[in-house]
């Protein structure tokens, strides 16, 4: 496998993990409370959806670092912005959120901006 394919693969894994992680964070966040009590901390640990979300979100940055070591910033960052599209699709299907033209246009401008900012 050449390094270009490797970079794309690493970024795809990172983007999917970050997107699914974000979805699980959203799902698990409803029951989340900042607390210092043992019961409260146990409740956070027992919130499996949230914990898996945190792990996936954290692991995605490990793949991201691996991609950063192989590739140039100007390639790695724009490619990771595919996660904005993944999250939008997940939000529509799993959270029944509604999109409108402003939101889609906003995502387009963000991705364009990410490409230009690392050029």
């Amino acid at each position: 496998m050449n390094s270009d394919t490797m970079i794309i693969l690493l970024i795809l894994i990172a983007a999917v993990m970050a997107s699914v992680g974000a979805l699980l964070l959203k799902k698990g966040s409803a029951k989340f409370k900042i607390t210092a009590s043992i019961n409260g901390i146990l409740n956070i640990i027992k919130n499996y959806i949230l914990i898996i979300g945190i792990l996936m979100y954290g692991l995605s940055s490990v793949f991201f670092i691996m991609a950063l070591r192989l590739g140039e910033l100007s390639v790695v960052y724009p490619l990771t912005s595919i996660s904005y599209i993944f999250v939008t699709i997940l939000s529509i299907y799993f959270l029944k959120e509604h999109m409108n033209k402003y939101k889609w246009l906003g995502i387009a401008f963000i991705i364009l901006g990410v490409i230009l900012v690392k050029m």
């Binding site: 950063l68 939000s91 409108n100 906003g106 387009a108 900012v117």
Partner: protein
């Protein structure tokens, strides 16, 4: 049969109630507070990213990973960012809040100019403007 009909009328009632609810919820389903929290999250994660960038130069053995303080500090900032993100996501739509994470590119660019003396071209500045405009559009779209 009667039960079936009753059930279907109930679901219809539920549906219309839901429809009414989403109308009554008002235009904004994502609070300004949640958006502010995501912006704080991006400041934390971009600090983490700067630390990651600083740390990737001397990664190698397991020992060098454990003793790599910028890398560990980067993870701590990422962790704090995640906690703030969870707090933000409690009240708001993911499709609105997640794109705001792109603001971290803006902070990283600005911090890189300050800390690493990185050159920022006109095209890069256009990118920064593009991200800010895109995020603003999404914020505007949340009220539509």
């Amino acid at each position: 049969m009667v039960a079936k009909r009753k059930k279907s009328s109930e679901t219809r009632k539920n549906y219309s109630a839901k429809k009414k609810d989403s109308k009554n919820l008002g235009k904004r389903k994502t609070s300004i507070k949640s958006i502010m929290l995501v912006i704080i999250c991006t400041i934390l994660t971009s600090t983490g990213q700067i630390l990651f960038k600083y740390s990737t130069s001397n990664l190698g053995s397991i020992h060098s990973i454990i003793t790599n303080i910028p890398l560990l500090a980067g993870f701590i900032f990422y962790g704090l960012g995640a906690i703030v993100l969870i707090l933000a996501l409690r009240e708001g739509e993911l499709s609105i809040l997640y794109p705001f994470i792109a603001l971290s590119f803006v902070w990283v660019a600005l911090l890189s100019i300050q800390l690493f003396g990185e050159h920022v071209s006109l095209i890069n500045w256009l990118g920064i403007v593009g991200i800010i405009f895109g995020v603003s559009l999404i914020g505007y779209g949340s009220g539509k």
